[in-house]
Symmetry: C4
């Protein structure tokens, strides 16, 4: 458990350094022993998150150990996804700039590069206005909104949120970080390719080969390599060393 | 007052570090006790501004305590906006690159992402040539030009200046900084989305929800979080700590 | 030999710092005395590679001195190119983002700037699916796939890999690094120029003049100048000094 | 003179830090007392240039004090422009990426933002192939090529070189640096605006107002401000202090 918490602090720093989050955005993990809980930072910029900022929540977003700490107002995104998807162990919500055009224009975001395969064959777009009207502030600030988003995510790995950002879900923390780092890159490549003519995306079989059996594994040397690299770039190599 | 001045110095550093200003561009605050005055740096690159650079001006741009310091030649932008808009407490003028295309082409800049909502539903474009002819150097260097710009701004939060930059006005310093940081991001996202087909901007109701009642507040944890983060990135975390 | 190994470590750091590789991608050299071998790092992010990470391989990708170190799973790219092309002394495989759009859209990457001349008049696109079907994970993980890629490269210097990256081959390490640094730049310039109308690429004669006789030479002052500069930027200037 | 030389070293560092030059590109000044000479670095990456690297040349590119130092192979660009244009006191040649698309596509680079006004109303494109055929290596490596380029520049401030870069000429060192920094920005803004519809460039009167009488002056506080800022960013603030 303590290793997972340190990895969660590290994930905050990595996502900030790689430009996935700025002052806003957050990452969480499901509690490894109590599946009806999740852990995420109090309301703080991810780059500045430390172990002391981590809080436990029930899936409806109620803090279990607030101790005066203010939670993120959008924690309901995380709780609702854990509730709807027992397979999900980690969630990221972010506003990574290069994903945003695909949430407000008709072109569909699709995996076009091998590192983008993890986003899956389909990336739905959730428009908060559809169910909650044209007068929200676009944020997901209650359980009902979170559940509606999770419903839109369905069995996919990523859902774009119109005019706002994305939510990504995976079976491990390292998976969700990797997906979140390469999602904006995939979006940039697809954007440019679309200006160059008809684009060939990854095939269903290729997506499956990477995300299923023989493909990418969280514990593979390739993935550990990336984790170590991102930690070093974020100035956290020492922290990583202590972990292992 | 002394805290506001330190925040103003900090705002200069933040805007420089976030790429909103470079050697050029400036930020000011209205004097909190004497509404007919405003405070801004002498003519210096924002990244290098310290407390000793801050000067007081009357709304017509006359320095009250020059002590040999050269003022910005475009201080009239600030004075004229404070004069026309009693609600405005802080102003930024900058040339942020990604806003510039929208000042010289027919496409209208509009809020398309939730962090861009603060720019408001309408962003007018002011063309100095319309009233002052085709032979200006494009800079706003006297009261008459400042007033014409302020008139074009009307009740909005941002006005683009053709071939030059933008002016942003808000009811607090932290508000105007946040708006100025996310304005270029909104412009980049809109630019890209326009290449991808018909774009869905924020609705009037969404813009109002974020900028009015229940939405964003300068003293909210979310906004303090951003201020702290930007200060840390700009290498000013220590300065911020001294302030509070 | 020891100088070449230090240059190979340096090349890893340079390619990482110049954004050609991130956690993934690799560079190798053919063994200068035993042409049936090549040298590359064990499975590690190039930015972190040191002399101790370098391993020797036979051209079919078999490690000769593993000592418990895990090799890159895509080492077959390198071996197959050395096998097919006796003139090649160094190979880079990377996923440089700006090259990727040209691998999934019909527009052909061509040299359009003098620093891009080294990629050669023709840059073929290899699609792994053509021979190995729609269910691969896109990676080149065996000798047969490497050989098919090398066949697609033919006598050219660069081959794009659909949805994946590129492989570049040159007659020296410094050549392959330089080509890999300027390849993404050439791609960016061509991408933008294509939005501006009909593009004039380099002529065959110009490409030949730069890459043949009187043009660029690995030992020219210009090339040494670049190597020294990249090493300095990557924080390796001291390392370079020790070498010479 | 010694102050000018230190400024020239500083200009090298500034142009490197602002991304105008990389390992390649150079800046020179005309000798202030002997108009038939100019000064520039030996063949070295601008970021690494020091006072000891500066060499004197006659206008045909002959070094006067080589002392074993290798000159830039393209010094003929500089000599030929000084020869043709007695008003020019400083020259930059660079390959700034964002200017390159305008050298290979039909769209004409024009000043569209006030900081780009210094490039002048017209920016010709020089194609080395027109006079020297399709088999050059694109570099300007002799007096005849330099003179042909200078002829193409005419009375303008900037000439684009097809598939290669640009040459910029000004009446002072600080002027040519400023122009070279804002030229790529102007190109980026124009590129984007062109995707947004019909673009309104600066008028002739506006260009003249900025570059003629009452506009920008090398010794103005605004320009000194920029010079100080760029020097600070390039880590040369101390060097600048020693100068004044």
């Amino acid at each position: 458990m303590s290793e997972l918490l340190r990895d969660l602090a590290l994930a905050n720093r990595i996502l900030a350094h790689e430009g996935v989050v700025d002052a806003f955005g957050h990452v969480s993990v499901r509690h490894p022993e109590r599946a009806e809980r999740f852990v995420m930072s109090r309301s703080r910029s991810p780059e500045l998150v430390t172990l002391d900022d981590l809080m436990e929540f029930t899936l409806d977003g109620t803090p279990l150990d607030a101790r005066g700490r203010t939670p993120y107002s959008e924690r309901f995104i995380h709780g609702a996804i854990y509730e709807a998807r027992p397979d999900v162990m980690a969630v990221v919500h972010a506003h990574a700039e290069d994903t945003l055009p695909f949430g407000i224009a008709p072109a569909k975001l699709r995996p076009v590069i091998h590192s983008g395969a993890f986003i899956g064959a389909e990336v739905p777009v959730w428009d908060i206005a559809k169910r909650f009207g044209e007068r929200t502030n676009l944020l997901v600030t209650n359980v009902a909104q979170g559940r509606d988003l999770a419903k839109s995510l369905r069995k996919n790995n990523v859902v774009l949120m119109r005019g706002h950002g994305f939510a990504a879900a995976a079976t491990s923390l390292i998976d969700v970080v990797r997906m979140s780092v390469y999602l904006p890159r995939n979006a940039r490549v697809q954007f440019r390719a679309l200006q160059l003519g008809k684009v060939k995306p990854l095939s269903r079989g290729e997506i499956q080969a990477r995300t299923g059996g023989a493909g990418y594994k969280p514990q593979s040397p390739e993935t550990q390599r990336a984790w170590q690299y991102w930690a070093a770039r974020a100035g956290c190599a020492e922290l990583l060393k202590q972990l292992s």
